[in-house]
Symmetry: C3
Subunit: 140 residues, 3 copies
Amino acid sequence: MITHITLVLPQFKRGFHIITDHIEHACTEHLGTLPQDGMLHVFIQHSSASLTINENADPSVRVDLEAYTNKLAPEREPYFIHTYEGDDDMPAHIKASLYGSSVTIPIMNGRLALGTWQGIYLGEHRDHGGSRNLVISVVS
Amino acid sequence: MITHITLVLPQFKRGFHIITDHIEHACTEHLGTLPQDGMLHVFIQHSSASLTINENADPSVRVDLEAYTNKLAPEREPYFIHTYEGDDDMPAHIKASLYGSSVTIPIMNGRLALGTWQGIYLGEHRDHGGSRNLVISVVS
Amino acid sequence: MITHITLVLPQFKRGFHIITDHIEHACTEHLGTLPQDGMLHVFIQHSSASLTINENADPSVRVDLEAYTNKLAPEREPYFIHTYEGDDDMPAHIKASLYGSSVTIPIMNGRLALGTWQGIYLGEHRDHGGSRNLVISVVS
């Protein structure tokens, strides 16, 4: 059995943001509870933002990851030809593919089987990315 | 219910290529239609090519992503020891792991729930990679 | 039908390690055989280690991938603020997101449908990461 839930995230500024609660809340709202055993898949319907899993505790991880990512994929590279949507656009496409468009997490005993220190991150790679659309799929 | 479809892609030159149509065509040919609700998983059976999701419109994104990727993982790094399969080989392995071997996309209302601007990319990271084998899995 | 298997890996030193046999052994031990058709998902419950798929043959690929990865995400970057868990910690978080927390592989004819040269890699990104917990999910 597969249930899809569409979720429009609030606007986030450029950077990495923990969205585990947004996702769990959307599941609870639509399903009541998660199945005892299943899989959760979260997909972002955009090519300039990403989803990844990383530390859910110290916010400095998110700060450093954003700083690193901006150095890894800098703006205004002289060889870029996809430039007409702004300096932040082509680096955002690169970051979207490096970090990926979806995450898959097991559901065990009615809960996401994340490790103690893991959370789901939105990577917002545009300066003004607006609201981002997710599709949450629960397979059981 | 899980259906696997094997697909041999035509040979592509080194770079990023949109293969959404190849995948949808293979599904239609084998299944008639996609299920109303399900998940699509595409897996590449090679360690020197990758699958990722990115912009399906302006081809300049693919050109810039390839140029960036070649700078990110350059050939002939002095410390490489895996060199006997050619200068393009070890960078191809690196790129395969950075971008990943599979993509998972929800199926809603009988269609891939890609965003308006999203397409499935093959990352061909070898100079002469030949035909690449995919396994398409439809879960419903 | 979804079966989850928890697996505690032995401690591995920093670097990339093939763990295909560990995963297949855990599946055999818990399930007897893999289903004829299905999907295998492997999830790592840590934010400083990763899972990826790459060449299963020549060990030099793993050596070069580790050397490359250490250059890609170096220690002691002057702008890092997440530093109190050791020099290897923030780079480990970065590598975890670049390579990813899970892999998904089709199961066909009762076997993992990996390509001839593909294996499942653990990326151990800490100097002393200890034992790592995996959740293996078999969907059929």
